[in-house]
């Protein structure tokens, strides 16, 4: 069984983020798993292997959040080429202009005092 006394799935994920890597897991059948877990969904197996994504993906769904005191920001679901989906945002482009099907490339947002580094995306091959 996974040893949660030593390391948590989120702890390991955040370590990768600090190194600029988007990490995910693969189960015994080679299927991508995200978010990272202590046991594999569906089977309960602890045979979960960590991998680093190439960071290329496609926008699956998108919205732009409008707040009263800040410019709108994008929130999107990204399908990574390795076969997993995650929430993120697409930067370097008007948040309303982010389109489903758009190819995007990951980069690591540095975060701040409260928020550890986290992956965001930009249009693949340059934006605007």
């Amino acid at each position: 069984m996974p040893d949660l006394m030593k390391q948590s799935p989120l702890g390991r994920y955040l370590e990768h983020c600090k190194k600029g890597e988007l990490a995910y897991q693969v189960d015994a059948d080679g299927k991508a798993v995200f978010y990272p877990r202590a046991v594999a969904p569906g089977t309960g197996s602890d045979k979960l292997e960590w991998r680093v994504s190439k960071g290329l993906g496609t926008v699956h769904a998108t919205t732009a959040v409008f707040t009263r005191d800040q410019p709108p920001h994008n929130v999107a679901l990204i399908d990574l080429d390795e076969g997993f989906r995650m929430m993120s945002r697409v930067e370097d482009i008007d948040p309303v202009q982010v389109k489903i099907g758009m190819r995007v490339q990951v980069r690591m947002h540095p975060g701040d005092d409260k928020q550890p580094p986290y992956p965001v995306f930009a249009p693949a091959g340059g934006g605007k």
Binding site: L10, L14, F34, Y35, H60, A61, T62, T63, A64, V65, F66, T67, P72, H73, V75, A76, L77, R85, M86, M87, S88, R89, P95, V96, I100, G101, H109, G111, Q115, Y118, V120
Partner: protein
């Protein structure tokens, strides 16, 4: 086959608490208790008759316990299943099971919220999700907005079609004296309203108001001797598909596609047998998804289906006759009020908005971010 028996129990009492903006310092449990006494008065039962409590509320973590203390009753059976706005449809199903098995005889389902008074952020703080929260989605709106983005992309659904849902709800609300909204609304007004999470404007989103409700269920045998016409529980279906929007298997298909057919199988009915729909309309996209998933139109056709006033007063299909969460009342977890309207339609109590010869009404609840889907079908005396 369902393990539950069609028509074995009925809703015999149903009532809202005060709705809208209640007096300062009113508690969610004050509203639950007020609605409970109104629901008991509705059916002629007493507080001491209640031996089962079913409740969930974001402001009251141990709702059955807190409500039992407040009312000073000692129920032998309780259930605090909390799966968002559809919790109360689940409570109906669980109460039916409990009554059938003799675990309780008179079940109270109650809810209350003061989210307008104390703010939505205070009433239902979001759980931190390390894989979503850093991106600052405005939840739950952004999740529904992304589902809408997929529906528009895959099926050509338009913002105008989404707006039709809000306009139909408003037309119904104008026939309901208890509705929060009192002014007419046009498609153009919906589109030009303040954007919340693209493509949803504030008029595509449910209200943020205080309120609550209560329903009383008992066995069909006992129901017959009570004050009002029983609304028999003909079918129930429950289904969960995910918790966070990132994990929803298909953003255009909800688990209503499972809960609906389950409820219909138990009831021995098909969608065309249903006279009125009470659908959880947290956002304009949700009734569109549920009309498809519950089998009232093919997948992808929901946007076109709701157009030209089809679900508005005078339209072909009566949907959300109260005015819905969009225009009548949405106190955080709106499912109990969805049930109350379906019960009233079956009883024939809806006056100006009454659906003619309404013998079968479907109440569909949604919770989380399209996550939990629960369906209850109610029928009048002719159906059992």
């Amino acid at each position: 086959m369902s393990a539950l028996r069609r028509g074995s129990v009925a809703v015999v009492g149903a009532a809202e608490s005060d709705l809208g903006q209640v007096a300062p310092h009113t508690s969610p449990v004050d509203l639950m208790a007020q609605a409970t006494m109104r629901a008991l008065d509705d059916c002629g039962l007493k507080l001491s008759d209640i031996d089962g409590i079913f409740s969930a509320a974001t402001q009251v973590r141990t709702a059955p316990m807190t409500l039992a203390e407040y009312l000073r009753i000692k129920p032998g059976y309780f259930d605090g299943t909390a799966i968002g706005g559809s919790s109360f449809m689940t409570h109906v199903a669980h109460a039916q099971a409990a009554i059938e098995h003799g675990l309780c005889e008179v079940a109270l389902i109650a809810y209350g919220s003061t989210q307008r008074s104390v703010s939505r952020a205070a009433a239902s703080p979001r759980e931190y999700n390390p894989y979503e929260s850093p991106y600052r989605p405005f939840m739950p709106s952004s999740a529904y907005a992304m589902a809408a983005s997929r529906h528009m992309h895959q099926y050509g659904t338009t913002r105008e079609q989404l707006a039709e849902v809000a306009v139909a709800a408003r037309k119904w609300a104008l026939l309901n004296p208890k509705a929060w909204e009192k002014e007419p609304l046009t498609v153009e007004q919906v589109l030009k309203s303040r954007m919340v999470s693209y493509p949803l404007t504030v008029r595509d989103c449910c209200l943020v108001v205080d309120g609550g409700g209560a329903v009383i269920l008992t066995s069909a045998a006992r129901a017959k001797s009570l004050r009002k016409k029983p609304a028999y529980v003909l079918g129930v279906g429950e289904s969960l598909s995910h918790a966070s929007i990132s994990s929803m298997p298909d953003l255009t298909v909800t688990a209503a596609a499972e809960s609906g057919p389950k409820a219909c199988r138990m009831a021995g009915l098909k969608p065309s047998d249903i006279n009125m729909l009470s659908l959880y309309d947290a956002f304009t996209i949700t009734p569109i998804l549920f009309l498809e998933d519950l089998g009232f139109c093919p997948k992808g056709e929901g946007g076109r289906f709701v157009s030209n006033g089809r679900i508005a007063p005078g339209g072909k299909l009566a949907v959300n006759t109260s005015g819905g969460g969009l225009s009548y009342c949405h106190p955080g977890m709106y499912g109990l009020l969805v049930i109350i309207e379906a019960v009233r339609q079956v009883r024939g109590e809806c006056e100006k908005r009454q659906v003619k010869d309404c013998e079968v009404a479907l109440a569909h609840g949604n919770g989380g971010v399209l996550s939990s889907q629960c369906t209850v079908i109610f029928g009048g005396a002719s159906t059992v």
